[in-house]
Amino acid sequence: MSGLRVSSFFLGNSSGVNFSIVLNPVDEKTGKLHLANCSGSKRAGDWNLNVTRVMDTSEVTVSLTRNLQLCLPNATDCCTTPLCVVETLQVLACRDALVLAHLLVQAEIYANSSFTGNVSGKCLDSTNTTIIPNQAFKPLGSCPCDLTAGACDVRCCCDLECTPDLKQLFNESCFTGVFGGDVNPPFDQLCSSHSMEYTPDWFPFLCVQSSLNNTPFLGYFYHGSISTPRVPSFKIPLQTSPGRLFTGYRQGDPIITEENEYFAIPQQSMAGQCVGNAPVAYLQHFDVKCLTNLASYKNGLPHDVRINSGTGDFIKQNVIYRTITSMDKFKTESESLHSAEVWCQNVTFAEHYTFIWKDKNIEQVNVMVFLGSLCDGEILTQRFTVKFLSSESTTAVEPFGNPGYQVGKLVRAANMNASDTFGSLNIWQPAGRGLCASATYTPVLFGLDSFSGCLLEVDINEDCSLLRGNVTEKLDSLIQATHIGKRDNSSYSDLNDWVEIIRLDPFNSDTNMSTRSLKGICPDIPANLNIRIIFANVGAVQGIPRQEILAVQISFSTVIWQFQCGLTCENSTSFLPITASVQFIKVPAQPPIPLTRFQMNYTEFDCNRNDVCWPQLLYPLTRFYSGEPYSQCLAKGLSLAFLVLLAAILSNPWFSKLWNSSLV
């Protein structure tokens, strides 16, 4: 027990039992206990006795009430020496002047060491280095239970800071095992250990006779050396968010403002929605459209924030403000709130940033901000674009003359049946509530796998075949083309530049279907459109690979539509999500030349797939083969080597001379 309070239990009927506490029950000279006297009280010196009776047992608590602060000598009511209290108490349980039980408590209490003074400076003790013994001979932690330095750990018998009389107190309940200091337990191969049930036949001869100083468990760890204590300084590092040295921007680095924060422009996150504080990466253009309404509108970074140019000085943004006149391109009115009392606010509709860069620095920032008024109930599509222009040329960074597709370019589509051969390949761009009625189209961009959809309102009484036709018509409106261009510069006059779209139309079996009289459930609705575009690398132009589209396939996946009822199936509308997904699949343009079986066509030492397995050939020098026990192979190899050696020696004529002379 440690602390200023100890408790114990008195078992048995505690009616009529008096508990008392006696100080110094031991005679100083003889060391024997005084005769117990039942006339004590519940207080003795600085000690208190508390008894809580619970049914058949009583909990007896002895506590010390005195000040344990360390202070100067000659002062009162505090400790003059570190070892403050060394006392023996006796707790007696008496009934009618007859002692039923007694409990001896020996207390050794040290003074409370709390720091009164200024904590300052560094904890400096570089001369006090700990020498770590070489773990090949001594285990690193020879006494794992010695947790506190400078004091005795209770129940830790290997702790050197425990005085022998302290150790006597807990001698019977020492920690056992490795934690208690037995870090070198006898291992199984020792001759003196009888722990193993199964001892191999040769065990009597090949058991280890030597002492425990060399065990196989030593020497596996860190290779002993000197460890200097870490010097803790009390300086808390400043929380700088980007925390970089300014040597200029590299491609992809975030742009940092004057206050060491990220320069943020709303961008689209991975989940699809816009986040307001997304940092801008150097040399990374983007063009995002974000939906917002008046309730959730947030102002971006103010335009008077200066940006770190990369060399350490800061540049101002050159802002030009314009107001939008034709707001229809940006706004959609959702609910018809044409009342005069509408709350309107001036917000930014679009921001176009142009960063002019040179090498690793930003030279200029030009911003064009379009403002307009947004009223309550309207949904605004904000547009943010960022362009990085090199200061040498004023056109945006683009690879020159690459006829193939680049990631992000529009996929060329053509409708050979139409008169103007103009076609388009689109996917949904929903707005507002996401309904198909209000959704627009966005063209498919090369290399960007996309997935989008919208919600179609369906009546509960909808006829299934009508629904199927409706859905198919809506999805077909996305594909206004019959051919897709192989390259970015495919011309409309040359049919070889185009690949035909392979269409897998949904299985129209409404004639064969038994008329379902079930309302509200329609199977086989082709609600998901899958566009798969297969492309390949067909060469390179100026080091930039040229990509061409090889084939396009359009297929439909069917769903079972079921009317979603609320509490009661009223005659309201339910939503059917129809989706369109685009997937770009890369195929190798030419298959690689097949290597002959002897060549290392797989990684050098792959024994599973190669025909020749060099590591296994050199067994037992290399350990890769596992078909034969290593020891057997080694023995055979050694005896073979020995025989060869013997033959070489014996066949030498010098040896036969020596042999004859020694046998004389």
């Binding site: 090949l206 030597s210 020497g219 080694l634 023995a635 050694l638």
Partner: protein
């Protein structure tokens, strides 16, 4: 001393027998100790650079053994004290190395103990016989 060929034979027969047996036994001892060191190096972990001294001592012992036996045999047969004395000195060295294998090795197996004990006893007997032979030759 027996009378043979009209001259007293001072060479000690037991010494010669012991030297011959020692030679054969040593070959067996060398091979057994070598394979046991190989076994120990696989089964147990040696502290860094402790395997090399063990092997080195074994090879030194083997190298010492050959001249030791040769000189001893030659000295006994030609009844000269000098080779026999040199052989005795080499025997002392071999005794030290055998004690190393018996007690100061990194891991001492029980088979090690048996082999080295036998070797030490052979050395002891040999030394005694050599001393007696030298005494016989000198006088």
């Amino acid at each position: 001393p027996e009378i043979l060929n009209n001259s007293f034979q001072l060479s000690s027969l037991p010494l010669q027998i012991l030297l011959y047996v020692n030679g054969v036994y040593y070959i067996f001892y060398f091979l057994a100790t070598l394979t046991m060191i190989v076994y120990k190096s696989q089964v147990f972990s040696y502290p860094d650079d402790f395997l090399a001294p063990d092997l080195l001592v074994l090879f030194i012992m083997a190298i010492l053994e050959v001249p030791r036996l040769y000189l001893g045999s030659k000295g006994n047969l030609t009844e000269e004290e000098a080779p026999l004395g040199l052989s005795l000195v080499l025997t002392l060295g071999s005794v030290v190395l055998a004690v190393y294998f018996l007690a100061w090795q990194t891991y001492v197996l029980r088979a090690d103990v048996i082999l080295n004990a036998l070797l030490l006893s052979a050395y002891g007997l040999e030394s005694g016989l050599k001393v007696m032979a030298i005494a016989a030759f000198v006088s």
